[in-house]
């Protein structure tokens, strides 16, 4: 029942799209018909799969590296106040910058023919939301929990393990949810800036350059599916990691 309105909207949108394109005789370079895109997707499914695998690997490695760094750095910053004081405004500022434009520089610094630059870009972009959210979670401790642990004469380490970390978990996952889709976007878009061309990004640009627009759109659909897989996996992990929240929904 809950899925009905979005389902209706989705079907209506696709039908309307198909009708507009076919009846309105819209040139494919402006908007190809869904049927044409689907046909290309079926025909190219091997290529789409391989390109998605390449981009997905880059995104995953970048995501894992960036998220680990973000969490570790946030833990360090929550431990040493001066570090947090400097890094919070600095990170907030940096996250307002178009970090993706670092891609060509990283291509120079590493090797343009390796996958490292794309992974590094993804990792840098992932780092900020994970770091900022985790740090916020680590700093926000219920004052009652603080006092309670004090009455238990708990040590700093025990406090961190039993209260701070589990309390920060929802925030970590908020960061990860944002990061998961950012990682995919970064891994794909980084290819527009040059470097090794074996992922979805370069397939889209080259298909567009050959004016094979339905094929380009087919790769975009592949990219969308890849993004969804990342996002839904993160949601699933979140459910598994925080059973006290899922029980509520059940």
């Amino acid at each position: 029942m809950k899925a009905l309105p979005p389902l209706v909207v989705g079907v209506v949108a696709i039908v309307a799209w198909q009708l507009t394109v076919t009846l309105g005789r819209i040139a494919p370079f402006i908007l190809p018909a869904p049927s044409a895109i689907w046909a290309e997707l079926v025909e190219q499914k091997r290529n789409v799969w391989e390109a998605a695998l390449a981009s997905g690997t880059n995104a995953l490695l970048g995501l894992v590296a960036g998220a680990l760094l973000g969490v570790l750095f946030a833990m360090a910053a929550s431990r040493f106040r001066p570090l947090a004081e400097v890094s919070i405004p600095f990170a907030a500022l940096l996250s307002a910058l178009p970090i993706i434009a670092l891609a060509p520089i990283l291509n120079n610094m590493f090797e343009a023919t390796s996958s490292i630059p794309r992974r590094v870009v993804a990792a840098i972009i992932v780092f900020f939301p994970v770091f900022l959210n985790t740090l916020r979670g680590l700093r926000e401790v219920d004052p009652i929990h603080r006092e309670l642990m004090h009455t238990y004469a708990a040590s700093g380490w025990t406090f961190a393990r039993k209260v701070r970390l589990p309390g920060a978990l929802p925030y970590v996952f908020t960061g990860l949810r944002q990061a998961s889709s950012l990682a995919v976007i970064a891994a794909i878009v980084a290819e527009y800036f040059g470097g090794l061309q074996d992922g979805l990004g370069s397939r889209i640009t080259s298909a567009a350059a050959f004016t094979a627009y339905p094929r380009a759109w087919a790769y975009v659909v592949g990219a969308c599916l890849l993004g969804l897989v990342f996002y839904l996996t993160t949601l699933l992990l979140e459910r598994l990691a925080m059973p006290w929240r899922t029980r509520l929904i059940a």
Partner: protein, 280 residues
């Protein structure tokens, strides 16, 4: 004041790390199992910071304008695109939010797609939108379309949360005054939504910059800072500092947009606190 100091401190630390790595890092990077895990530290890959600043003052090409003027021009151009995309995106976001607040069915039907639109890399469409340039709209407008696509989302979600934030008692109070939907919107929901709106606008501003830069590159639009990053990076082997000057320009643009967006709220938010909305 304190914040500015800490940001400056952060910049100094970054500069120290950069030059420090150049001192100790291997010029050809560190290769482990055939994978270069640490970047090259030679002047070609990581020029000295002062070289970058010197480069700003020198002409772009022999006898041409100095680089900093070229970059400033490019930033102004891209800022124009960003602003157009941001305004369009924010308006669409606001409209969507109001519609979703007004009609529950719209919210239930569209909100999943609004969220979905951000989890999937639809920016990948940028090279395709490029095809529109010169036919149904001017080339720069296609870039603005990409920027607006990236910026509508935080506004739509943040504003929706904001419009839904007034308590039931507040809504009932308005009802007791016999205020209709529109008056409730103007007198209660909009003011209540402001603390949600401005943080969302900041996110939208940053997203619009990314959209404009990425859009310029994938559509091949000339004249902007994104294009400059690509052009200069091709000269990296002969003129390594040049691409960093373009990076500085992109960073400057990001900062400037963030500054302008935070100025927007000054008259309205003097006595109020921000509410951060988790958008995804």
């Amino acid at each position: 004041m304190r914040r500015t100091f800490f940001v400056l401190l952060g910049v100094v630390i970054f500069a120290a790390l950069w030059e420090g790595y150049k001192l100790v890092g291997s010029p050809d990077g560190t290769v482990v199992f055939g994978v270069r895990v640490l970047p090259r530290a030679d002047d070609l890959s990581m020029p000295h910071l002062w070289t970058v600043f010197e480069r700003l003052g020198k002409p772009e090409l022999t006898g041409g304008r100095p680089v900093w003027i070229v970059i400033l021009h490019a930033c102004v151009f891209t800022f124009g695109i960003t602003a157009a995309g941001f305004v369009a995106g924010a308006l669409i976001g606001l409209l969507l939010a109001v519609l979703m607040q007004r009609f529950q069915l719209v919210e239930r039907g569209f909100l999943p797609y609004v969220i979905l639109s951000q989890t999937v890399p639809l920016v990948a469409l940028a090279p395709l939108v490029a095809g529109w340039g010169g036919t149904i709209m001017p080339a720069w407008a296609t870039v603005a379309v990409i920027a607006s696509y990236l910026s509508f989302f935080p506004v739509a979600v943040g504003m929706l949360r904001g419009l839904q934030s007034p308590s039931a008692s507040g809504v009932e109070l308005m009802r007791s005054y016999a205020a209709g939907w529109w008056r409730t919107l103007v007198k209660l929901r909009f003011p209540a939504a402001l603390p949600y709106l401005f943080p969302a606008l900041r996110l939208a501003g940053a997203a619009a910059v990314v959209g404009a830069v990425v859009g310029e590159i994938s559509t091949g639009t000339r004249g902007g800072i994104g294009r400059l990053v690509i052009e200069y990076s091709r000269e990296a082997t002969s003129d390594p500092a040049k691409v960093y000057t373009a990076m500085l320009g992109a960073a400057l643009l990001g900062l400037f947009v963030a500054g302008v967006v935070s100025l927007l709220e000054v008259p309205l938010m003097r006595h109020r606190r921000h509410v951060e909305v988790v958008t995804l």
